[in-house]
Subunit: 395 residues, 2 copies
């Protein structure tokens, strides 16, 4: 019987609790489980939940609940806190530490492993992947992304039809997706782009800094051809030559936001038409009706695999998803060293997908699960016109 | 055989195309259908789609597609344009005019009827109700609201769990719902409020102007008790003594927005904690995974009923939904004079629902359809603390 401590860290997803449930369900009958509160903060400050019957039962009941039921969050993990964390685990007699999270989580887990080694404390560590914007290195994709992608894709598709219905009123709509450093999520918004009227007519990625005049021209062109334009920008998109728009710094991480507003101002000024912008917001990572059946299944399997690897005495690794084939869709789990994940940095959208939307669509399709009906074509409009509200800027 | 012209007007919903499909399916085999492009603008400017086989087929295919497939939108309908509209209908030999829309649509339809009467032109007119924020008078509720309510309720529930997971990072989250004059939608965000931690901890309605210090105190109280606070505001919420926050005027209607940002600034300044705000946005009226099965069914039935009433020679009425009972849920259609709808003005949330959330929940429940599972209780937190980032304002 092992004494296993489990935590969740980073931003939550719609399925991180499913990973936890899969893990716990496999092990709770035969092992002692201790749950860490609020990710690395709880680990450093020794705040745990004991794995009582009620706690286990509550965790299993949370399988399909978004958020992170143990608490997750962001935390500045200093050398001191790493040491304190190891001390806390050791004094509790913990033999195995398992954390669910992204890049930062894997890095911290590796720090803990090294500290434990230094103290000759034989702590087994395993990382279970989680992501919203798919920037986690060392894995084809990770639980959380498929559902966020489905949300973004469906939102773009549905909002596009809504926008087209209002083309005598609102002519340009800008949606901002999550994606601090990588444009995977923004790119998924083009999944349902079956008809050119639907758009998105422009998708801005952090990988490709935006040139204002190009953006204006592309929008103008869509406006004149279709009567309305749908623009999607990633939160981490930047202007050519400039920094990302940063709103505030909390716990050492910038809270990004506002690029869609900058684009809104630019287009209003240059085109003189009505433009609205909105964030797709936190629903991207929590809205349960949009959860992908495949994402949910893989999240549970990630937890179960982690549990099996605990029993197989693996350590120092993350349970990565390896794609064997896309059509038919087959994946398997493969161990990746935590330091390899750390060294790879944030994983950006590769040029093969930036330059070829069909290739990206094929790659993405299996992750979105069921419910991907295509809409009928919108009715041809021969009568649209661009409604200028004020004089557009001189070119 | 009748010659019937049909249009959609106002902001689209997730189900207005279902109403159109229900109407068309009942009549297309035996009657001549002509479709009006972009609501009253198309009617005044004589822009129609002929009811060809392809057009009919396309309309039926759009039954479950959000947006308004004929185009809808907002339009300043002057006396001149009313006259021109009647002229356009008359010259085409239209015998029946049917419009889907809200308050403004019914008012315009009535104007058209009166103008046709003056011209001794025996035009039959019928209005089919549509709403997002349920402010349409003369009906228990109207198609579009149930789905928007489901979206808002589920978003609040899911975002609440997401927020609670991040309580060492983000402590106050503000969501802004649609609802220019009436707080029905904002109120629905409290539907899943089963556990006090979940919130929303404050819901602001246009019916009840906000007092800044009360809002601050309620938020502080939730923060101290639960470690995070979820605030929901309606777009039309106003400060006690002040006007609504207006962003711009387009086509004679103010485009509201920004009250959630004002609340964000207020709370940041007074509480000194991290606060984020976002609009629930256009997804409220278009996101198809959140469509309510009951709303969809009633939308189709509204169209079918309108079609039956065309054949029964009714005129000058809107097909209202009358609630016979809540449990079991039974509704029927009843004709309401267009001028009665106009005279009633925008229908606000009644005090019996403002003051008794359980009563509102019971009234609302049948409209949300299926998929209303309650989540398990969040885990007890005994360890939360309020993280001040800057000095809160002196009280």
């Amino acid at each position: 019987m092992k004494h296993i401590a489990i935590g969740q860290s980073g931003g939550p997803t719609a399925v991180i609790n499913a990973t936890l449930a899969g893990f716990v369900r496999t092990l709770y009958k035969d092992h002692q489980l201790t749950f860490i509160r609020n990710g690395y903060e709880g680990l450093a400050e020794d705040v745990f939940f004991e794995g009582t019957k009620e706690m286990i039962s509550g965790v299993l009941d949370h399988e399909r609940v978004p958020g992170a039921c143990l608490g997750a969050g962001r935390y500045g993990f200093t050398r001191e806190k790493v040491k304190q964390s190891v001390k806390n685990l050791r004094s509790r007699g913990v033999q195995t530490l398992v954390f669910m999270g992204g890049n930062g989580t894997m890095e911290a887990l590796h720090d803990i492993q090294q500290e434990a080694d230094q103290q000759h404390y034989p702590l087994q560590v395993i990382g279970l992947p989680k992501t919203v914007d798919n920037d986690l290195a060392g894995t084809d994709h990770a639980p959380g992304f498929g559902s966020a992608a489905k949300y973004a894709a469906m939102a773009a598709r549905d909002m596009s039809r809504d926008l087209q219905a209002m083309n005598n009123f609102e002519q340009v709509r800008i949606l901002e997706t999550m994606g601090r450093n990588a444009g995977w999520l923004a790119a998924t918004s083009g999944f349902f782009n079956e008809y050119p009227e639907d758009g998105p007519h422009v998708i801005s990625l952090p990988e490709c800094p935006m040139k204002p005049q190009v953006l204006v021209q592309q929008t103008e062109s869509a406006l004149e051809t279709y009567g309305s334009a749908l623009i999607v920008v990633s939160e981490g998109s930047a202007w050519s030559g400039d920094e990302q728009v940063e709103k505030e710094i909390v716990n050492g991480r910038p809270v990004l936001g506002g690029v869609s507003r900058e684009v809104e101002e630019l287009l209003k000024e240059n085109l003189g038409v009505m433009v609205r912008s909105e964030l797709l917001g936190m629903n991207q990572r929590s809205f349960s009706p949009a959860v992908s059946t495949v994402d949910l299944k893989e999240a549970i399997q990630t937890g179960e695999t982690g549990a099996e690897w605990v029993l197989e005495e693996r350590s120092g690794v993350m349970a990565s998803l390896k794609r064997i084939s896309t059509s038919p869709y087959r994946v398997s789990f493969t161990p990746v060293w935590l330091e390899a994940v750390e060294q790879s940095g944030e994983r950006k959208l590769p040029s093969k997908f930036i330059n070829d939307q069909d290739a990206f669509r094929d790659w993405l399709r299996p992750l979105l699960g069921e419910g991907l009906e295509m809409y009928p074509p919108p009715f041809q409009r021969r009568d649209h016109h661009v409604i200028r509200q004020n004089q557009p800027k001189q070119k």
